[in-house]
Amino acid sequence: MLCVPVLTLALGLDTKESHATALSVMLPLSLVSAGIYLASGTVEGSILIPVSIGFVVGGIGGALLLGKLKNKVIALAFSLVMIVAGINFLV
C-alpha cells in the first residue's frame, strides 16, 4: 500500500512501473514473513490451494491488464482499494 505511492511520488516512476516494481519489493519481504509463519505454525492446506489458484489467476490477469489500462484508471482503482481497506480496519 505504501510502496506504490513512494515509488510514484518520491522516485518519480509512472503508475504502471510503480505497481510492477512494488511487486519486486514485496516478494522477498513476503518470503521472509512466510518463512516465519511456516516455522511457527501450521497452515491449512485445504484453504491454501484454492486461494493460491485464485490468486495466481487474478495476479496474471491483473499483470496482463496493467498494460492495457490508462494510468488514471489504475491509480483510481488502487486508491479505491486503499479506502476500502482503510475503512475495513476502522469498522
Binding site: M1, E17, A20, L23, G41, I47, V51, S52, A63, F89
Partner: protein, 102 residues
C-alpha cells in the same frame, strides 16, 4: 497486507477461518501469484531495479522496527491508526489521480 482486503474478511467472516490462519494463507498464496505476475511485468520491462534497491533496504528496517512497535501497542489502537492512515492515503491518491491528465 493490501492484498488481503477482500480475502481476509471472506475467509474469517464467510468461511469462519481463524484470523491467524487467514493471514497465513493470504501471505503464502501471495508468493506464487507475485512470481508469475512478475514474469509478465519483467517481459513488459516495467520493473525498475534501481528503485527496488532504494525501497527494499529502508523497507526491511522499517518492517523490523514496525513489528517491534506493533508488539507493544494494543491491537485495537494499531488497527484504528492504520485504518485512518490508509483511508487518508487512499483519498489523497484518488484526488491526485482525478487531477492527472493521462
Amino acid at each position: 497486507m493490501g492484498g488481503g482486503v477482500l480475502l481476509i474478511p471472506i475467509l474469517t467472516v464467510v468461511l469462519s477461518v481463524a484470523q491467524k490462519s487467514a493471514q497465513a494463507v493470504n501471505l503464502l498464496a501471495f508468493i506464487p501469484m507475485s512470481v508469475l505476475a512478475l514474469v509478465v511485468h519483467l517481459k513488459n520491462k516495467r520493473v525498475k531495479w534501481r528503485s527496488v534497491g532504494y525501497i527494499i533496504v529502508p523497507a526491511v528496517f522499517f518492517s523490523c522496527g514496525g513489528s517491534l512497535l506493533a508488539l507493544s501497542v494494543s491491537p485495537g489502537l494499531l488497527g484504528t491508526c492504520y485504518g485512518v492512515f490508509l483511508s487518508l492515503l487512499g483519498v489523497s491518491q484518488a484526488v491526485v489521480a482525478l487531477k492527472s491528465k493521462e
